[in-house]
């Protein structure tokens, strides 16, 4: 691992420790909680952003590529769109990016039921910041805090913290360009995502979702980019529902 990432990780570890130590303090604002919740994730996502920055640098229009850090705000779709543009043209790149980001509908629908009382301006602003880590953090925070105002502060702070760091790291990656190629950083992408599904691996009911979705995604890897993800979403959702039914029956038995 390169030194800047190691330093960022050390900072994030200390931020997490601070967060845990003061979580019960009454003066802590939800905004600060949101920003702190993203620090470890941001540290972990920096290598991922550098990979995308390197791909951005390889294009004729690095500014356009970098703008995607805020417009697309999703690493996998951003990277896939850039790579597909090289290999198969603009239409295929757009379709690939959209198919991969189609999962955002699920995250948004999940948050919509949490944000039933939130004002419309917040939904419009927050929509641009919905992505895997902010969704996971918002879901966890909403389980602990039902106050809409605090949920707003938490989510906006979390989304902006992640977005600013993400965008800056992509810019650094774009400036470093091909010098990053030898570092083989792409392994951090699945590892970052694993950190997000960790809680599901520990919950018996959700474990079946992870297993079925993984198998479905593996079977469909040769399908056009993004379509396998949608199949896995449907398969995982169905498996989760079936698992809930089984565990519900088991609970109701005398």
């Amino acid at each position: 691992m390169n030194p800047p990432v190691a330093v960022a990780i050390a900072v994030a570890e200390s931020a997490t420790a601070t967060s845990t130590a003061t979580a019960v303090g009454p003066t802590r604002s939800a905004a600060r909680d949101g920003a702190l919740a993203m620090m470890p994730l941001l540290a972990a996502y920096i290598p991922f952003a550098l990979v995308i920055g390197s791909a951005v640098a390889a294009h004729g229009s690095p500014l356009a590529g970098w703008t995607g850090s805020w417009l697309i705000y999703g690493g996998s779709a951003h990277l896939a769109a850039l790579r597909t543009l090289d290999n198969a043209g603009a239409v295929a790149a757009i379709l690939t990016g959209l198919l991969i980001n189609a999962r955002l509908v699920v995250y948004s629908a999940s948050l919509a039921r949490r944000w039933g009382t939130q004002p419309r301006w917040f939904r419009v602003v927050a929509a641009g910041l919905i992505i895997d880590p902010t969704w996971a953090a918002a879901e966890r925070h909403a389980d602990q805090c039902s106050d809409p105002r605090q949920q707003r502060q938490f989510f906006i702070a979390a989304g902006l913290t992640l977005g600013a760091g993400w965008s800056a790291a992509i810019a650094v990656g774009a400036l470093m360009g091909a010098r990053l190629d030898g570092l083989d950083l792409e392994i951090v992408i699945p590892l970052c995502l694993l950190g997000l599904v960790g809680p599901s691996l520990r919950a018996a009911g959700a474990r079946s979702v992870v297993v079925v979705a993984a198998v479905a995604a593996l079977v469909t890897t040769s399908w056009p980019a993004g379509t396998g993800i949608l199949v896995a979403v449907v398969a995982g959702g169905t498996a989760g529902l079936a698992g809930d039914r089984v565990s519900g029956k088991a609970r109701s038995r005398p």
Partner: protein
Amino acid sequence: MTWIVILAVGAGSFVFRLGPLLVLERMTLSDRGDRVIRHAGTAAITALIVVTTKHNATGGSVLPTVLAVAVGVVLAARGGSMVRLLVFGGATYAGSAIVMELLTR
């Protein structure tokens, strides 16, 4: 052409994000629908893990990638933080890649 792709994917992604927030504003989901959506979110991230792992596991990096992700799965299942996952998974990848390189020389 890059501008067109970025703008189109960005606009479409925003619609994906905003659509349900506005459409479901006045709708109440059943408990079942609620649970399906939560599970589907987890399934989406899992699918991305598989896709990115498969993309990375090519040529000589198959074994290092599989080992690193396996270490990541074990740590995630044991409640390890994302930073810990990254450090140990990354170290496993680097270590096994070096060993593979030495063995093939």
